[in-house]
């Protein structure tokens, strides 16, 4: 019988990561699209880094940053009584960081393509800036934002390298589906590997179709 734990864990981790990356990503996208502040290009580069870095390298840096010998890792341990690394939370952190640039970049393009005369109309109507953002910019850009969040979910669900580095490969605890798939192939368990690959592949294709559909439909 197939062990479904990695599948449910992957869904849980990817969903949590997508919520965090979505909220953080859309805020960052808004800031990068509208803000003019020193360090903007640097922030943009840092946010994009997880796309270009090899996932294991990303995982290595996260491990260095959050590990038991790092100051962040020690602070976590003092507050929560156990290390952050090699837990489900660490898997969520890895998935969030991996998903973030997809959310930010797609949402940013969508926010930048909102017709500025609509935002101007809101200001002239007397809306304060935060209401211009909430009532005009974000709703008009919602399709692009949704596409970015969907891509982020796909990336979070499929992450292998960063997850294995910071969350490890503990069956029944931190072993997500992509990691379990790798283990199954190593162990020669073809049935489990096939099921895992089919599931991950099917979810990815469904997300791709949904993103294309959203992108094609008129605003």
């Amino acid at each position: 019988m197939t062990d479904w734990y990695p599948f449910w864990l992957s869904l849980r981790v990817a969903t949590t990561a997508t919520v965090v990356a979505g909220v953080l990503g859309v805020s960052l996208a808004y800031l990068l699209a509208k803000g003019r502040f020193p360090g903007r290009s640097l922030l943009e580069a840092v946010v994009t880094l997880p796309i270009v870095l090899p996932p294991t390298v990303l995982g290595y840096y996260l491990l260095t940053l959050l590990g038991v010998n790092s100051s962040l890792g020690r602070a976590w341990e003092r507050i929560f009584g156990h290390p952050l690394v090699f837990t489900v939370t660490a898997a969520v952190v890895a998935a969030t960081i991996s998903a973030l640039p997809f959310c930010v970049r797609t949402a940013r393009v969508a926010i930048e393509s909102v017709d500025p005369t609509l935002e101007a109309a809101g200001r002239i109507a007397g809306l304060p800036e935060w209401q211009v953002a909430v009532q005009i910019t974000l709703p008009v850009a919602r399709r692009g934002i949704a596409a970015g969040v969907a891509l982020g979910f796909a990336r979070a669900l499929g992450d292998f390298g960063a997850t294995v580095m910071v969350a490890g490969n503990i069956p029944g605890r931190t072993q997500t589906l992509p990691v379990a798939l790798y283990d199954a192939v190593q162990a020669g368990d073809d049935a489990t590997a096939r099921t895992g690959a089919l599931l991950l592949g099917a979810i990815a294709i469904v997300i791709l179709l949904a993103v294309n559909r959203v992108a094609r439909s008129a605003p």
Partner: protein, 259 residues
């Protein structure tokens, strides 16, 4: 200050600004009274940039704007009242209606203070009723719940005019409001703007490159050449309408620095 109308009191709107938008610079000096002041000139002469500066969407690089005795922008003194606090109404060429909101919601957006009790509670019904009343005033009450994205050009402008009036504006800015319309809607919308201006007793600035707009609506003309205003004058209401807009030397100074 040059005043070429019969009123000795200062004009409701005094503009004396230079604005740079990218590589383009426009210098504009004029005043506007109650009634329709047409900013007339060829495309690209800086009329819309001037209007955007009055709206506070752009900052002037030089000079100042005084609206009803209040300095709303002064480059030298570093004054820049936010667009939100200038109490304006504006209609642009394509109306800028929010596509995800119904017409009545678009109008309601500008009714921030209507139906808000002293405790800050919002009476949605009062706000809605006021929005429908404004739509009725611009002949668009039947469109209140229509799909905003499927409105015709003329319908869009009617909704946009209702929204522009919703905030009890001190000044109405119309940026090429008829240029995207067919002939029939254009004539109807002109009459509507004329009527609203007469009823509301507001200063109205109308940007256009269409001489027909000048002939039909202008109480006052400010003429633009590329990059600057070249003159302003009142239109004599006793002259035949078809001659009102004919270009001729203007009565006031042509220099933007008129102080």
């Amino acid at each position: 200050m040059t005043v070429d109308g019969p009123t000795p009191s200062p004009a409701p709107l005094l503009v004396d600004i230079t604005t740079s938008a990218g590589t383009f610079t426009v210098t504009a000096g004029f005043e506007a009274h109650t009634g329709i002041t047409v900013l007339f000139g060829p495309s690209g002469s800086g009329k819309s940039v001037t209007l955007a500066t009055i709206a506070g969407l752009l900052r002037p690089t030089k000079g100042s704007i005084v609206l009803h005795g209040r300095t709303i922008a002064d480059a030298e003194a570093g004054i820049h009242i936010k667009t939100q606090d200038r109490h304006l109404g504006m209609v642009t060429q394509h109306a800028a209606l929010l596509p995800h909101r119904s017409p009545v919601e678009n109008v309601g957006l500008a009714l921030r203070t209507v139906g808000t009790s002293a405790q800050g509670a919002v009476d949605r019904r009062a706000r809605r009723e006021e929005a429908v009343r404004l739509l009725a005033e611009t002949g668009a009450a039947h469109l209140a719940e229509a799909n905003t994205t499927s409105l015709s050009g003329g319908e869009r402008q009617r909704v946009a005019l209702a929204r522009a009036l919703a905030g009890h504006p001190q000044l109405l800015l119309l940026d090429e409001p008829f240029s995207a319309l067919d002939r029939v809607s254009r004539t109807r919308l002109r009459s509507l703007v004329r009527r609203l201006s007469d009823e509301r007793q507001l200063p109205v600035l109308l940007v256009t490159h269409d001489l027909d707009d000048v002939e039909a609506l202008a109480d006052r003309i400010v003429e633009f050449e590329p990059g600057r205003t070249v003159g302003q004058r009142n239109v004599d209401p006793t002259r035949p309408a078809e001659r009102r807009g004919s270009p001729r030397p203007t009565t006031s100074s042509s220099e933007p620095d008129r102080s």
